[in-house]
Symmetry: C2
Subunit: 376 residues, 2 copies
Amino acid sequence: MDEIEKLNDLRQRIDDTDLELIKLLEKRLNLVKEASLVKATLGASSRSLEREEFLLQDRALKAKEHHLPEGLIEDLLKRLLRESYKDSAQRTFSCTYKTSKPIVLVGGNGGMGQVFAKYFKASEYKVKTLEKDDWENVAEIVKGALLVLICVPIEVTENVIERLAPYLDEETILADITSVKAKILSKMLSAHQGPVLALHPMFGPDIKGMVKQVIVNAGGRELEKSAFVLEQFKIWGAKVCNCEAQEHDKAMGIIQAMRHFTTYCYGLFLANTNASLKEILDLSSPIYHLELLMVGRLFAQDPHLYCDIIMAQEHNKQLIEQYLNCLKEQLEVVANHNKAEFVKRFLDARDYFGEYATLFLKESGQLLARVNDDKR
Amino acid sequence: MDEIEKLNDLRQRIDDTDLELIKLLEKRLNLVKEASLVKATLGASSRSLEREEFLLQDRALKAKEHHLPEGLIEDLLKRLLRESYKDSAQRTFSCTYKTSKPIVLVGGNGGMGQVFAKYFKASEYKVKTLEKDDWENVAEIVKGALLVLICVPIEVTENVIERLAPYLDEETILADITSVKAKILSKMLSAHQGPVLALHPMFGPDIKGMVKQVIVNAGGRELEKSAFVLEQFKIWGAKVCNCEAQEHDKAMGIIQAMRHFTTYCYGLFLANTNASLKEILDLSSPIYHLELLMVGRLFAQDPHLYCDIIMAQEHNKQLIEQYLNCLKEQLEVVANHNKAEFVKRFLDARDYFGEYATLFLKESGQLLARVNDDKR
């Protein structure tokens, strides 16, 4: 055989192996689907951390025995787990509070409302919705409700609470999912005398499933009565993160408002320079490609959403000012070519990041490799 | 069988399937290694775009026939291709200019110098290095060189050019790899009368292989004489991107300087707020998690590197001022709760991003799913 024939022969054998691989993946996906159904009848949570840990460790060991390069089987398994989480979004779940009382989702036909409606229904709750046009029947709709969960845009939430409250039974749990917690929680507490629960799901309506999603519990009143709600979230696979309302709002100023604001500004700045995106992309290393993705993606979305997040708290203005001052100082450092000062500030920030800096470097390295994988 | 036994049985079958999967992957990796060796004897490039396109399309089709969820086989193949690129970094390459004349790497023992030394050697070139301590032998080292490639830090590059030039044969190609091109190119052109080539590899010394890496060709003099260098890069699998020096520098002000500068400032700002990173991470959605990774990773690296990039061009100062002005304006918009203005500017920037916005949203969506995959 000459070398070209050899290459063609090897490629044919790779093709054959890939077909086997596809068949094996099909078999595996079917087994996982079956397991998901059995888990549903067992009332088990969508996600078993112990099983996952076992899986990852066991396969890593076997992969090493079979000389697979480090990290390959781990990446593949995580990718497969993603599919099994998606599957589990279609299953039923055991119910943490069996009752004939309904759950009312205010704005239940909106994006987030639909997510919660689907999951509550899949857990055998009776779900009703209260929409804009339903206010004349509000008394009837919320009467005897177990839980009334407000899923409306933030700017109308306070108004909705006011209008709702007079019709709520005293034992009904009043809850919301807006991204600002302190003022909404205090509004709920003053408007309703019964149990209250302030929530903030850290995801949008486009999620593929609830597994691994974070839902913040910012407290409320008579929390023992709403404990089943948090338990239900966990059965769905979500992570419940307890965080006091004020603390939550402070963190969101940074996590949501500041990051979106600086991304928005960077996009405006880029547009201002009128740099050719095509050229920039051609010249980009994976890291800049990634950062450009994160800036550009914002502008494909709803401006009002970002506007609301950025303007949600007065405190955000102060954060922006703080950031602006920081930039001004650094501009001076750069303008003066003050390398020593640059390095000093850099090292101070390194102290702040502590061990996270190297952790982030490693984790992002994996991710940048994936950005490179995607490059044609 | 009761449900628990059923679940255990299914899990056992998943375990067995995974072992088969690992064996199949081992088989595939070995076939790819063999193919890489055959390609080396054929003198073929590290990467065949046609073969990759065929692979991705063919497998996608077969995966669909076998009911695999969309995107799964594509992700797996891209991950496997990464391994085959890494393999190809170990192979030999055909040489695009057979000669007994040496290639001299100035700073060849530095990070980037080592990368090029390795690849040139793997392509049968005779490689010499010129280090700091070798200047007394400079005449002897560069005598009769085919190519002298300067791989030293940017702040000493001009000085190195000056010291080198008097010893270069007129037919020797003088080339460099610094990240600022216009002033270095003009320095090379005035110092050396023979062929000149200005390059900028868009990667660091930590790359796993040359495949898909971008190398910018910013031109020079008597370019027909250095055409073999660019051809050699392509054989290694790199992408050569032609960009005029001034244009390149303008783009780098944005790609490298501005992005690093804003990331640096954001890190300083975060340190300034003294927000708890642990709490922020707990509360973060994948998107903020990713952005935090990208900020934190910077501070695990060498401050001097970033300082040099940010201070490399006077023009960068103007870009920072432009960004700062943009931020100030937006702060006012936010402070005045001017939603209409926010939305207007947002939509203007959307126009600038054009079809890239939705493209980036889609691409980043894939990536964020992977960030979520990594979450424990």
